[in-house]
């Protein structure tokens, strides 16, 4: 099955500036994840191998609506940057072994799957927002910034829902909707970061460049929350 994931990488990296090829790579990844899900009997959301593949697929899936908006119809470099980002994380996924064990009883609930899947959709949209911020800084054009705002707002909504579902799961699993772990601290930081970003919109057009930069920095905070905390800090709430 892994060949589906491997096959998607060159298509993303070398062909995603064309929308049909972008979609083809996404379909390959979806087929890989579906096959893996069927063989495990659950969503593949445990361990860096599976989560990176899921993240990569989420980036492509969440990019898709932006590839078809009127404002970005001829922006092939933007298509390619979305595909490149998805390809990069798919490539990273190959570096880690996949975990083929059944879910531990504490994770065996829909709340867990909902919590993690929503978080990855949010991370993916923050990635798309960062790319749109980069496009604004390179080419100008307020359309990029408006789309960046929409991507970040939608990502923020997914992320908030992920936190709510995580809180409900935590209450049923551990007796509390909140635990003081580095992961939770960084989740709060990420949520506050995008709260700040969305509030900054009210400052007006003078802040456009800073707004774009903030959208880019947000993705770095996202990556630290997802990968950095698990790799650099000691947290019981990890992959």
């Amino acid at each position: 099955m892994k060949w589906l994931l491997i096959a998607s990488i060159p298509v993303y990296l070398f062909g995603s500036f064309r929308r049909p090829l972008f979609v083809a790579a996404l379909l390959l990844q979806l087929a890989y994840l579906a096959g893996r899900g069927l063989s495990l009997g659950r969503l593949p959301l445990i361990g860096p191998g599976d989560t990176l593949a899921f993240f990569s697929c989420s980036i492509a899936l969440m990019s898709l609506p932006f590839l078809y908006v009127r404002e970005l119809s001829g922006e092939r470099r933007f298509f390619w940057s979305c595909g490149g980002l998805a390809g990069l994380f798919a490539l990273l996924a190959l570096l880690f072994p996949t975990l083929n064990m059944p879910l531990p009883p504490i994770l065996d609930t829909y709340w867990f799957e909902l919590h993690v899947a929503l978080a990855f959709f949010a991370y993916a949209l923050f990635g798309v927002a960062a790319l749109l911020g980069g496009a604004f800084l390179l080419k100008g054009g307020r359309g990029f910034l408006d789309l960046q705002y929409r991507a970040a707002l939608t990502g923020y909504s997914f992320f908030s829902l992920s936190m709510v579902s995580g809180g409900i799961w935590g209450y049923y699993a551990w007796g509390t909707y909140w635990l003081w772990t580095p992961k939770e601290l960084w989740t709060s930081i990420l949520w506050l970061f995008y709260s700040l970003y969305l509030h900054l919109r009210a400052k007006g057009t003078d802040w456009d460049r800073r707004f774009a930069w903030l959208g880019i920095c947000g993705f770095l905070v996202t990556l630290f929350t997802y990968l950095g905390v698990s790799m650099l800090l000691k947290s019981s709430h990890s992959f």
């Binding site: 059944p102 009883p105 551990w174 506050l192 019981s236």
Partner: protein, 237 residues
């Protein structure tokens, strides 16, 4: 004349204070400050898990932990308190001016969640019990919950793939607890954390009281409704 001047001066000072407290700039700086405090806290010596922060209600932990451990959390809580005040005043101002309801619902949700944390920080409770079959947990009022049976299924990899404990509560009824399926009794939640079957069946049970949970849930619902309304409003803009 002097009294009028004093009154006027006081009103001006109050108005300035109000304007400052409900300014967007203050809100942005406070958010940045809370983020910074939490980020430093995640690396600090008294960081979250290492310092037993999950074992005690927050206010008790703050009172007992040395300042060298808890300083980052004191800063975060203080900034968060001013941020809540900022959100309340901004919300009132926006409603007075007839602005969109969606962000105000989100603010209200955020405030309720902050309040929920305060309730739990004050009245939260957690205690672990390691019990064999026949062992009991005592509750206020003299009632107890007794462990009747501990069972589990071993999966293909040799680990327990499912486990449960059957508990006899005060009125004689039998209830099972499993991971993600606690028993709520007398305002407490009884959670099954771990089970070992050899040499004798033994269960690790945790009793929790989380007084902030209802407020957190209502806050989350309000926030989500406001968020969805905002998404609808911003669609196509």
């Amino acid at each position: 004349m002097t009294t009028d001047d004093d009154l006027h001066r006081s009103l001006t000072v109050l108005k300035q204070l109000h304007n400052r407290l409900c300014s967007l700039n203050l809100g942005l700086w406070l958010m940045a400050g809370v983020m910074l405090a939490l980020a430093v806290g995640s690396f600090a010596r008294g960081s979250a898990e290492g310092a037993g922060l999950n074992d005690l209600p927050l206010l008790l932990w703050l009172r007992e932990a040395p300042l060298s451990f808890s300083w980052w959390l004191w800063i975060a809580v203080a900034l968060l308190a001013v941020l809540c005040l900022n959100a309340i005043l901004c919300g009132i101002e926006a409603l007075r001016k007839g602005r969109s309801l969606a962000p105000q619902l989100m603010h209200a949700g955020f405030l309720l969640i902050a309040l929920a944390h305060l309730f739990s920080a004050y009245g939260g409770f957690k205690q672990q019990f390691q019990l064999q079959e026949g062992g009991a947990i005592g509750f206020p009022g003299g009632e107890c919950v007794r462990v009747e049976r501990i069972s589990g299924e071993t999966g293909s990899m040799g680990m327990l793939s499912a486990y449960r404990a059957d508990l006899r509560v005060g009125n004689g009824a039998l209830s099972g607890v499993r991971p993600n399926a606690p028993l709520f009794y007398k305002g407490f939640g009884i959670y099954l954390k771990e089970v070992a079957l050899d040499p004798v069946p033994i269960a690790l049970l945790e009793v929790h009281r989380e007084p902030g949970a209802p407020a957190a849930l209502i806050g989350a619902l309000l926030f989500t409704i406001g968020n969805l309304m905002l998404l609808m409003q911003r669609r196509g803009r």
